[in-house]
């Protein structure tokens, strides 16, 4: 099937939503932009599969945490921009604090090794 890119790492399950919401907290963005942003900000560690990105975006739309509308991209292409809603912002805060709580707990377990 060809050589796998060594840098490709799976995004931990359940965190994709949080990453997308965090990305959008910096401003509205289209799908490709979100994927690229996550890829770059994680220093090429995390690569978002399109097959999981778009379904995740649908989920966020259903929950009302993001909204979408068509607009012009940087290259004057017609693209669909996603924007964080107020509810989405609250959800982001909630998920961030949850995530950090879990990380700290894991950290405690690992440290006492």
């Amino acid at each position: 099937m060809g050589t796998r890119d060594v840098r490709r790492t799976e995004i931990p399950p359940g965190t994709l939503d949080m990453l997308i919401l965090k990305t959008l907290s910096r401003g509205p963005m289209h799908g490709y932009g979100i994927a690229e942003h996550i890829h770059q900000m994680s220093e090429d560690v995390l690569e978002v599969e399109e097959g999981s990105l778009y379904p995740a975006l649908q989920r966020l739309l259903i929950q009302g945490w993001v909204s979408a509308e068509w607009g012009q991209s940087a290259n004057n292409r017609r693209a669909r921009f996603y924007r964080l809603t107020k509810a989405g912002r609250k959800q982001l805060d909630h998920e961030l604090s949850e995530f950090q709580r879990v990380i700290r707990a894991i950290g405690r377990v690992i440290q006492t090794a």
């Binding site: 289209h30 799908g31 490709y32 690229e36 599969e49 399109e50 097959g51 778009y54 379904p55 975006l57 649908q58 989920r59 739309l61 259903i62 929950q63 009302g64 991209s73 290259n75 292409r77 017609r78 693209a79 669909r80």
Partner: protein, 874 residues
């Protein structure tokens, strides 16, 4: 909630969503390609890394949660196409289901109205009926006497309100013709008990119970429309009732019906206060029934306890109450109680018919399933799970059932109208309609039916036997033996159910024929009956009453075509006049039971007109009048009961009915008649001459030489010639009366016979279907047999034998089931036991014969198979 809203929006904008996603993916790809350099290679690389767009699209769509709806829609469309492609199958299945579901809906509708639905009054569950019971036999039915009711009303504390009613007939004159009205005579609080408001005017005041204030009348809506032209100024108007002036004080609303179990054959025209007759001992006339409303929180048991205590106290002071008890029961349960067993049996029977119909349709589906197995295997090979297949097949069944159910509703509607027309007097029947409750029942039944008959074919049709099914020669499918077993079991089950219904129907039929054979004690052929009720104002004293009736009888007897005429104040199977008698030498002492008997007052030719036998002595003549020796006649039952070891002739009896009872001498004995109906045994009767004990109403008995119905007009004219304002009521032939008395039994028998025939027909169709299929499967084998020398007759016998084997299995199973179930019929049977062997043998023979006929056609086809063709057949 915003979530739900967004989801619904998605549903509407589905195609827009698809387009948006399409565009988004395009843009994404372009951007990716652009990032990689914008070359063709970069574009292809981008596409490869993008992955499976189809999958992405599907997953994105699925997020919105409507996947189940889409698969359902898909299944429905598919099923529609399949059903359209085989119209014959669809038609047969839908018709079978329509019959089953429709019939069940109709019967349930009746059961719901008559047994389940609350009475049409507010808070009807607190309404009760009260009546006096006879200590040993409870034969009084639901009546009590007015003075006793007054005591009850005075003494009871656990009731909000109480009212006593009785049915009567009055003559309304004025206008262009006099009219006899059916009325309810009631104490003042009836409408308070029922909590019903009048449409116009008011209801009774408490003082209107008493003489002097009681000439008021409340009209029914029907009477108001018919006779008074819906005139709103009718309140306060005077009307002529029985030659006396009554004031109209109110009109009831159109939907009001009292009592609720009155059938459509006659309706109540008006309500009147009671007119107590001080001359009679009214405490003995048990002709009122009492309805009452319990106080909130009081149960029927508590009310019963209080009434028992009250009754105890009353019985000590009044000899008429000594022999009686008192019963309190919920009104709604009472109303349907007589017909409940019969209705439940009908419901059970029609449910069995539905099961048979389900089995037939299941068989049809199984047969089709065999043909579609290749298609099913293909779908499974392409990745459909078994659950998915089952779901699709069940969708098919439920859709078929829905078609059947819808058609069934139409059938039910028509069937109900027919039922209401043809049925005998079933309480509350005319309230029956297809209302939301019935519709809900029908919907649930339809769904259940679809699942029941669909589950077996769905299970079979989704079996994963891919290898065999996909092979070219897969026509002789290995799953077929399994399938054949299932189909055979279904047919056997059908036969069993049909046999049970046949047994029940046959038992009822025999019972009915037995009852029809019973001799009622009089000759109902060429006998007319009619009622004449004199208004007390016009004929106030007994002499004028007796004289009037004598003249009427003489005049009628002289009509050409009339052989003789007589009259009595009661008629068998129509009315009665029971009360206390005293036997000389056996006077009842305080504390002892009083003797009850029928005490008709008759004219001299009564027995001759009725065709009753004179056993001993002589009948009355017009010479037995008020100035001659008081005489009486008795029937054989009375002779047996009161003088079992002695001669009754010459003995003396006294009819304790109020004014001044005298000792009468028995001068004759007549044969028994069945007063209460053909089935109930005759009760003792003590007859007195009308001239010696006059009454203001008479039931005529007219024996004719010609067709009785032809003389109806002549009789009416005969009476009106004497008094032009005197209407004659309910002229009918006694044959009609006797027939009506068994109308309920006849109707039930007819319905059961209909259901049983339906069941048998369905079972026969089931056998026919299975045999046809079996023959077509075994064509190859039959061809071999014939090639090896088997004769046509042998092949015929082979197939019929197979059918008979199935039938025998079904019959055996059915007999077992019938032996258990027919005991529920026991209360309806007469002269034949629930496990009557002759009946069972007969229906078994019938069932097996029908099965043989059902197998005959396929057998005939099998016998005509050309071996050459068959051997080539794959």
């Amino acid at each position: 909630m915003g979530k739900l809203w967004r989801k619904l929006l998605f549903l509407i904008r589905r195609s827009q969503f698809d387009r948006d996603l399409e565009d988004e993916i395009c843009t994404h790809l372009e951007m990716k390609a652009g990032a990689g350099g914008g070359t063709v290679d970069a574009r292809y690389a981008a596409r490869r890394k993008f992955g499976n767009t189809m999958l992405l699209r599907e997953q994105s769509r699925e997020m919105w949660g409507w996947a189940w709806l889409e698969t359902l829609a898909q299944d429905l469309r598919y099923t529609f196409r399949m059903l359209r492609r085989s119209p014959g199958f669809t038609a047969v299945a839908v018709l079978t289901l329509a019959l089953g579901i429709g019939a069940n809906t109709a019967v349930f509708s009746v059961v719901d109205t008559v047994l389940l639905r609350p009475l049409p009054y507010p808070d009807s569950e607190r309404l009760v009926q009260m009546w006096s019971t006879k200590a040993n036999t409870n034969r009084w039915g639901i009546w009590t006497a007015y003075p006793r009711f007054l005591d009850w009303r005075r003494l009871a504390t656990r009731f909000e309100d109480m009212a006593a009613v009785r049915f009567w007939v009055i003559n309304l004159s004025g206008g262009d013709h006099p009219e006899a009205l059916h009325v309810v005579v009631t104490s003042s609080r009836l409408f308070q008990v029922l909590r019903v408001q009048p449409l116009l005017g008011r209801t009774f005041l408490p003082e209107e119970d008493q003489p002097g204030h009681d000439h008021v009348i409340i009209l029914s809506h029907g009477l108001w429309q018919r006779r008074f032209g819906s005139d709103p100024t009718v309140i306060g108007r005077a009307v002529d009732i029985d030659q006396q002036s009554y004031t109209v004080i109110g009109v009831m609303p159109p939907g009001f019906r009292f009592p609720p179990d009155l059938t459509a054959s006659w309706s109540i025209d008006a309500w009147l206060p009671p007119a107590p007759d001080p001359s009679r001992n009214e405490r003995e006339s048990n002709n009122y029934y009492v309805v009452a409303r319990l106080k909130p929180g009081i149960t029927v048991a508590q009310a019963q306890a209080e009434m028992d205590a009250i009754h105890h106290g009353l019985a000590e002071r009044h000899w008429e109450d000594r022999d009686l008890g008192v019963k309190v029961a919920g009104w709604q349960q009472q109303v349907g109680s007589e017909v409940r067993p019969a209705l439940m049996i009908l419901l059970g029977a029609i449910s069995l018919v539905l099961l048979i119909a389900c089995a037939n349709v299941a068989n049809l589906l199984l047969a089709r399933g065999a043909v579609r197995q290749r298609e099913a295997a293909l779908r499974q090979a392409l990745g459909a799970g078994r659950a998915r297949l089952i779901r699709q097949l069940l969708t098919e069944s439920v859709l078929l059932a829905t078609f059947g159910g819808t058609a069934g509703l139409l059938l039910a509607y028509q069937g109900l109208r027919l039922f209401i027309q043809l049925a005998p007097d079933i309480p509350r029947l005319n309230e029956t309609a297809i209302d939301p409750r019935v519709l809900l029942f029908s919907a649930v039944l339809t769904l259940g039916t679809g699942l029941i008959f669909g589950v077996v074919p769905a299970w079979q049709g989704s079996k994963m036997d891919l290898q065999n099914a996909l092979k070219e020669s897969g026509s002789r499918l290995t799953g077929s033996s399994d399938r054949a077993r299932v189909r055979s079991s279904l047919v056997i089950a059908e036969m069993a159910l049909a046999l049970m219904l046949l047994a029940g129907a046959c038992l009822l039929l025999r019972s009915f024929l037995n009852v029809e054979q019973i001799d009622p004690g009089f000759n109902a052929k060429n006998l007319l009956t009619a009622f004449v009720m004199l208004s007390p104002a016009k004929y106030p004293d007994p002499r004028s009453q007796a004289a009037f009736f004598r003249e009427v009888i003489d005049r009628i007897a002289s009509i050409p075509g009339v052989e003789c005429a007589g009259g009595a104040d009661s008629a068998p199977m129509l009315t009665n006049d029971a009360g206390t008698v005293s036997i000389e030498g056996h006077e009842a002492r305080p504390g002892e039971q009083v003797i009850q008997a029928e005490r008709p007052k008759i004219t001299p030719d009564y027995f001759r007109a009725m065709g009753m036998r004179l056993v001993r002595g002589r009948t009355f003549t017009w010479a037995d009048n008020e100035s001659s020796l008081p005489v009486a006649m008795i029937n054989e039952a009375a002779a047996r009961e009161y003088w079992p070891n002695a001669d009754a002739m010459g003995r003396r009896v006294k009819l304790e009915d109020g004014s001044a009872p005298v000792w009468r001498q028995v001068i004759g004995i007549v044969g028994d008649v069945r007063q209460d109906g053909l089935v109930e045994a005759a009760r003792p009767e003590v007859y007195a001459p009308l001239l010696q004990s006059p009454v203001p109403y008479l039931a005529l008995a007219v024996r004719t030489r010609v067709e009785p119905a032809a003389l109806t007009g002549a009789i009416r004219h005969g009476v009106m010639a004497i008094d032009k304002d005197q209407p004659v009521l309910q002229i009918q032939t006694m044959q009609q009366v006797v027939s009506d008395s068994v109308a309920g039994r006849r109707f039930q028998m007819a319905l059961m016979a209909l259901f049983a025939s339906l069941a048998l027909a369905l079972a026969a169709i089931g056998i026919y279907g299975l045999m046809s299929y079996s023959v077509s499967q075994r064509t190859h084998e039959i061809g071999i047999r014939m090639a090896l020398g088997a004769k046509r007759e042998e092949v015929l016998l082979l197939v019929v034998g197979q059918g008979l084997l199935l039938a025998a299995g079904g019959v055996a199973l059915g007999i077992g089931g019938a032996l258990i179930l027919t005991r529920f019929l026991a209360s309806l049977l007469f002269g034949v036991g629930p496990n009557d062997p002759v009946t069972f043998a007969g229906v078994s023979l019938l069932a097996v014969s029908v099965a043989a006929v059902g197998s005959l056609i396929p057998a005939w086809r099998a016998a005509r198979i050309d071996p050459m063709e068959a051997l080539r057949y794959e």
